[in-house]
């Protein structure tokens, strides 16, 4: 089985339906303006409500309540809002799917943690669009969700390998299938037409040294993933902490003590994010 065959098996899983699809298409349109984005988000009341709650969360810390989506878009920024809405849609879309072998709550907690940590790292790097990294973090393990869905009862085989070999889950995946969830996830994102940076960051988040075009983004997701695992902020099925490639810290370029602040910042907002996105 190849990654392509893997994705082709079920169209419904890999594409959004109904309003999600409309929102997704509109968001991807570069001609969209504030009004256009607002309109699109309003198509789905759940997404609209969650987006507004996100904008009013402590993550953005705006001094006054933001009561309309329109204002939220202009304050948080058009680009930024795209990524926030996208991540919300993705979570909504996959949350309802029947997945065996993984605790969905824990899986999303891990994903949100990596998202918030990635965003926090970008924030300390003073990057202009930090929501981008939030999106990359949230979606970095989508491949695994797909993997579990496809494997169904065969998931047990995967777990057995992990237990027998006492290895990391993605290594077990490679043993079983010849490829891992990172390959699946990046292929899916590519199909969706996501930014190349996101595709590469997802593809190499367990092998950051192989990222050629976007090494910084990849390094950020890689480091955030390890931090989330070591702090046990949810789990996507790993029992061990994936080791951090040392050169990624150099690539990110922040002093080690700053990670304390990054983690503190992420922890502060994680529960609130989880409450908004997963209730």
């Amino acid at each position: 089985m190849t990654v392509a065959e893997f994705l082709e098996q079920d169209d419904a899983l890999c594409s959004f339906s109904g309003s999600y699809n409309t929102i997704f298409t509109r968001l991807s349109d570069p001609t969209a303006n504030v009004a256009g984005i607002t309109e699109a988000v309003e198509l789905d009341p759940t997404i609209a409500a969650k987006t507004l709650r996100m904008a009013n969360s402590s993550l953005y810390g705006f001094p006054e309540p933001i009561d309309t989506l329109h204002r939220a878009v202009s304050i948080i920024g058009l680009q930024q809002m795209r990524q926030i809405v996208l991540s919300t849609i993705v979570i909504e879309h996959f949350r309802g799917l029947p997945v065996i072998g993984v605790d969905m709550e824990s899986f999303w907690r891990h994903s949100i943690a990596v998202g918030v940590l990635s965003r926090s790292i970008a924030r300390f790097r003073r990057e202009a669009n930090i929501e981008r990294l939030y999106l990359y973090g949230i979606m970095h393990d989508l491949g695994r969700l797909l993997l579990f869905l496809r494997l169904g009862n065969r998931t047990e085989e995967l777990i057995n390998i992990r237990e027998r070999e006492q290895c990391l889950l993605f290594e077990a995946e490679r043993e079983l299938l010849g490829f891992d969830h990172a390959a699946i996830g990046s292929a899916l994102l590519e199909e969706w037409g996501m930014a190349p940076a996101q595709v590469e960051a997802t593809r190499y988040h367990h092998a950051p040294e192989e990222a050629r075009a976007f090494p910084v983004e990849t390094a950020i997701v890689h480091v955030a993933d390890s931090i989330a695992n070591s702090l046990r902020l949810g789990s996507s099925g790993e029992r061990f902490v994936p080791p951090v490639a040392p050169e990624t810290f150099d690539r990110i370029g922040l002093e080690m003590p700053i990670y304390e602040d990054i983690i503190g910042h992420a922890r502060k907002h994680l529960d609130q994010m989880q409450a908004i996105l997963l209730d």
């Binding site: 303006n33 006054e64 202009s74 920024g77 058009l78 680009q79 924030r123 202009a128 669009n129």
Partner: protein
Amino acid sequence: MSPSYRTPEEVNALHERIRFLEEALEANAYAMDVLASTTAIFGDTDRNRSPELIIQNTIESIRRLLPTQDMGVYVLDNDCSFNLAYQERPGELKPDLADTVEELIRDGQFSWALHQNHPVCLPSPVDGESVMLHVVSTRTRIRGMFVARFRQAELQRYEMILSTLTMVLFNTAYALESADLFQMMDRRQKALQRITERQSRELLHHMSHDSLTNLPNRMLFSDRLSQAMERHADNAGHVALILLDLDNFKRTNDSLGHRAGDELIRKVAQDLSELLNQARERSGRHLRTTLSRLGGDEFGILVEDGQGLEGVVRLVTDVVRKTATERQIFDQPVVSSVSCGIAVYPYDGEDPDTLLGNADAAMYEAKQRGRNGFRFYTQDLNARTFRHFELENELGQAIANDQLVLHYQPKVELATGRIIGAEALIRWQHPKLGLLPPGHFIELAEDMTLIEEIGEWVLRRVCRDIQSLHMPEEDLPRVAINVSARQLRQPDLAGDFHRIIREAGIPPRCIELELTETSIMDDPQGAARVFQRLRQVGMSLAVDDFGTGHASLMQLKQIPADTLKIDRSFVKDLDQGEGHAQIVRAIVLMARTLGLDVIAEGVETERQAQVLQELDCHTAQGYFYSYPVRFADFRELLRPAVVLPVETA
């Protein structure tokens, strides 16, 4: 053929999309231009590193990126408050941008925006407009805030290039930071430079000055000496080096302590500097002096005088006289005199060391000679200059102090030995040097223009002496007075003299004026005129030192003299044999021809007197008869009983 299955709506949408993409492409091209020139924000010369220029550059970049209604930049100052450093259109639009920002600051939205890394668009009080805030910060430090108001419709179009704005402002933040650092570095460097300069100045001063008196020390003094010598190497100017040593300083030190010694040195140094300042001021500009403490109780004074050595000597005289005074040192009177040694370039040395050594030797000699005085290294200068100045000073006082005296040398009739008159000769009874003959001071008096005063004094004294003889008028002796060439130039010598004689009641014929042939020849017409006037008032005249002044017969004829006085040099040889009498014979013959009397001076032997008589000269003066004597003695000689030796043998 294009596919025709698109609906008109789809076509419109596609058109719209193309238009958008073209606009975006154009905007992106601008953005790329701006990004390519972001280094312009920094500037790379010192001139460009001012915050004002950085902000100016930033605004120019942003103008090319975004169409705004108004924009401004707030900069964080050192007190952590935001100041509006630039506004595009201040006061033009209502409400003013600054007021809107004040509102945002109050709401907390401003401080919220400080922590966002992207442009934040907030609702504006004006419909259809937004206020954009964008922090200006580096990765570690907030530097300010960019604010702008623009139409919402336009923001949507330029949304793509807002990240360029972020990058521009990021550069601005770093430019401001580096400007700050440069300014700080500059300030530090300037401060450091100031400190270094001050310290080097101080160090140089310490190295070249004496700490007790703050005067130049030996090192600087030697340097100045070399410079001065170089300056005068090619001209006639002199450089005088005066070494000055306090007399008996060790005694002061031993009896009053070193602190008192130091105090004395300080006070002497102060007095000396004042003295030199005054001397410099008096001299106008041409006197240059350097005072230095060379060590211990030794000072050095360097004097350059373009005008000659006179000023130098005057100064030293002053220094010696005024420094030797009583000073209060810690309430103790201390008298300290100084001894000076003087060496003069170029006479006493061609290099500073030689000059210093010689000045030292001269100072040692001054000490040997009893301190409180000065010596020149060159003996000739000592003889000339030192005495010259001392005498000048003292001669001025001589008349008042009654130190001038007259001695009378009798004039004798050879045949009878009878005294017929005398030559009055001036002497200076000098308190230290003893009795000085006129040769020692008359020339000086002429230089000092004291000669008129002295001349009058002589005449008055002669008159008084003659009066005091109390003799019948016809028996009174005729007394000769020497008149110098300079006196001849007095406007009314004859009138002055006549008045004095008349006041004294002395017959004019008793006074004979002697003028040397040489001084007559200096100004024959003037002499003739004065002689004429003197003759008119009845005084007689004699030509002194006759035969030494090359007077022609014609000139001699024009001068209304009564007597020729044969110079002692001709008289001296008269006893040496026949051949030596020729000149005297000729002079006598000539005098007789012109109808003049003849008198010989400097007769020392009987033989000389004898020969003179043979040559038809009948009067003479000289040691053979009498030395010049005091008036009292002269008066004795005039007594009828006294007869001086007669050539009878």
